[in-house]
Amino acid sequence: MPAVLNEAFVFILAAFLGVALITKIPSVLHTPLMSATNAIHGVVLVGAVIAMTATHGTLQIVVGALAVFLGALNVVGGYVVTDRMLAMFQKSRREGGSPRA
């Protein structure tokens, strides 16, 4: 199988998996979901690191470093803020003595 088809194969299967998983997530959690998937697309940071290892010349290094910066901001900020939100949901469960379970 040519490489491109192989990659398309992976992409399609992952997209179907994504649809199956995401439709099960309640709307209560849609903001954290969006923030969490936001952090996940920060995985382009991995791409930036790979691309950066083979750069030559100032221009390429600057472009690569900028990509690493944006990707890292996306990853770190995304995970931290998602955790902060989810901690609030957890806390609101523990402390709020709800009459309805």
């Binding site: 491109v4 990659e7 992409f11 992952a14 997209a15 179907f16 998996l17 994504g18 998983l21 995401i22 997530i25 309640p26 709307s27 209560v28 959690l29 849609h30 903001t31 954290p32 979901l33 969006m34 969490a36 998937t37 936001n38 952090a39 996940i40 920060g42 995985v43 382009v44 991995v46 791409g47 930036a48 690191v49 790979i50 290892t53 083979a54 750069t55 030559h56 390429q60 690569g64 900028l66 990509a67 690493v68 944006l70 990707g71 890292a72 901001l73 996306n74 770190v76 900020g77 995304g78 995970y79 803020v81 955790d83 609030m88 949901f89 609101s92 469960r93 709020g96 009459p99 309805r100």
Partner: protein, 458 residues
Amino acid sequence: MHDIVDAGYLAAAVLFILGVMLLRSPATARRGNYLSALGMLVALVSSGWSGPLHHALLMLAVFAAAAAAGVAVARTVRMTAMPQLVALFNGTGGGAAALVALLAVLRASAGRLPAATLLPAFVTLLVGSASLAGSAVAALKLQGIVSGRPIPLPGRHAVSGTLLLLALACLAAALVGVVPLASAAVVAGAASVGLGLWSVLPIGGADMPVVISLLNALTGLAAAATGFVLANDLLIVAGALVGASGAILTLAMGRAMHRSLGHVLFGRLQTAQDAGGGERGTVHPTSPEEVALLLAYAQRVVVVPGYGMAVSRAQKEVKDLCDALAKRGADVRFGIHPVAGRMPGHMNVLLAEANVPYDQLYEMERINADFPVTDVVLVIGANDVVNPSARNAPGSPLYGMPVLNVDQAKSIVVLKRSMAPGFAGVENLLFGLDKTLMLFGDARAMASAVLQELLAVV
């Protein structure tokens, strides 16, 4: 060596998938996010092994600076500002993807790339740049730096169409090889930045839940396309997951607002023409004392919060009022419309921040059947999402939009600043019903006034 790297990527992909899976319940969601973050760490460490690591120190320094900035912002942002922050991180992800694609083009030996790499590189560049620019504008609008009102732009579609054509022409020229690859890439990226700016600028604040979801999907696609450029399956899997998530949320938000994606993106600003649905009855203004008395003897109470509650920062006062009612033995729940707020699920986060237990938060579908047996509904800063015209006035622009059926409750109290219409510019017949009382004023001040009166009732 490459086997180890690939095994690391596989582990990371599994951790991402498990992480998303655990988001199914508020009880497990935080663990899911940890797993996902662990996956990211595994992926980053693996990528470090993938070859001779040049510029490692520079990368570490840049990473540290970005991480410090990210943590600082993420720790301090207010929950009301969450949509801006999500838009911002969306943009950085899209920008990073576009830059990686640009780097692949710049590194192309002898200025040539095989079509199988060139095509995804341009897709990444175009989608990533548009996402970066669109997200930046969305964040500025949400922050109020750029007006959040719908802005009519002259020649809106002509300009967008020209920019899109220019970007595609660059791609075609690069494929044929008639222009230098790097110049084509730079021009295409610039055109796409313009397209992102120009497309999001005219869109009004109330449509933001759709826009943010769409930008999220675009950045996911850009990440997946980056995977095609670098032949990296992890990026493809992660990007596809995010793309699917963004696409589903976009459709869900559009359905909940009764606006198609085309309407949001290509305009037709909704105007308040003939609202339909007949005349509104006389409005009955009320006082905090009267509301407190009504609530004091209610068995079942449902609170319907809208963005107006968040604007006046009344979450804590509303939560205190609900606690006082629960202490008196009332059953208090929150009925939440999917588009309450500026991004999907935003209202739930605002209430969770005020320590409202999430099992008191009810989605529209779960609470609508309960309104006929509800004694009092407290509508706080919501308008269009409780308009009965959406159900029974075929002439109304809102007709067909899913709404909370609060008009079926025994009595309704609406906390609102004034009689100004909601985003759709449509008259709300709910406000004129005989069983509806209007409590005019700032939501925060009124909620605490009602609470004071309630505590005075023995």
